[in-house]
């Protein structure tokens, strides 16, 4: 089970690094936690809301251990994220350079951190 997330987003363990601005960044960068929420929403769309209804998806949620995602669903999630965030987020290149252990231990927070990194460039 995913641990309950009661602390502020920026202090969650495994959370992406907090950005300097608390308010919406004028450059269009997402607020802290916003990308995590988007990833969580797309996870629900990919594996089905009926399966995630009882789960509290946060940065520490593991795709394999907590969500039981199959590899085909992980690819489907990558496709959904690519559609949502566009060409600035290159999942094909990112996934290609990851090691096996990285993929097995992949969490919502790591994917969100990668997206935020791409969007901030």
């Amino acid at each position: 089970m995913t641990q309950p997330h009661t602390s502020p987003p920026s202090s969650r363990p495994g959370a992406p690094p907090a950005t300097t601005a608390d308010a919406a960044d004028p450059s269009g960068e997402p607020r802290p936690g916003e990308v995590v929420a988007t990833v969580a929403q797309l996870v629900g769309e990919v594996i089905g809301e009926e399966y995630v209804a009882d789960l509290d998806i946060g940065p520490d949620t593991s795709f394999s251990d907590d969500l039981e995602m199959e590899s085909i669903e992980f690819v489907a999630l990558a496709e959904a994220l690519q559609l949502r965030f566009g060409e600035r987020v290159d999942f094909v290149a990112w996934l290609a350079e990851l090691e096996l252990d990285d993929l097995i231990d992949m969490t919502v927070g790591r994917v969100a951190a990668f997206i935020e990194d791409c969007l901030s460039r």
């Binding site: 089970m1 399966y51 789960l55 907590d66 969500l67 590899s71 085909i72 690819v75 496709e79 996934l95």
Partner: protein, 279 residues
Amino acid sequence: MLWPFLRFPDERTVAQRQRSGWWLLLERWTDSASRELMVRRYTDADERTDYSARNPLAQRSWLLGRAVAKDAVRQHLWAMGAPPMYPVEVQVGHDDAGAPHVSAPTEATGLHLSIAHSAHVGVARLSTEGPVGIDVEQVKPRGEGFSALAFTDAERRILARASDQQPGDPVAANDDDPDFDVRLTAMWAAKEAAAKAAGTGLQGRPGDWMITEAVGDRIRVNDTWVEVEVLDIAPPGGNPNRTERIEPDTYVVAWTAGPQVPAADHPHDRPSQRPGALT
């Protein structure tokens, strides 16, 4: 299916052997009471501890996999002359790479097992001849992005050519091609099955398992031929009193067939519900 099993759990199975030689188990125990009944029939104390430690999502797929594996092994051993046997008498373990192995009251050494699950469907395949792999995937609408992430350009040409009905871009999905997602899912499942037969699984590396050919309902992955079958399965929980029709979900099952192409004039025709779905 469930009722005869509950009366004679040491002589009946819930999973059913398919004509193509693999076992199919449909999850029809969606409420907690009937799920608990399945857990009690199929697991011993150690397995129940293992089961209880998992989250609800993991419990469901774990139970599906264990049950279909135990039913497959029991039916196989009965066919070899074994006496009645309860599911708890069959033990399913995993090696470090995740490949399953079995032990049972009667001789089960040399029995190769592969298990897979997707949504409400569990499948298993057994062999006494060597390692086997099986996979099942629910067919869902996928797009170009999925195809680009999962397959090489050469594989995408096979994916497109298989339909032979796309006059435009040879690697693009086509709105007029309703079987595109079936073929795409079949190609993915074929990779999974071949990777599992090798004892490793896909491990997030679809590129290590190259599809080089697709002929009829057979797909070649590296040097391994994989057979695929398309199933339409109604989702569980349908109310028989409701008059509106519930659309079935489509699944693809893929299993390794060995290094040679099986003879086309197979003695018993494969019961594919969509013959030639890939061509």
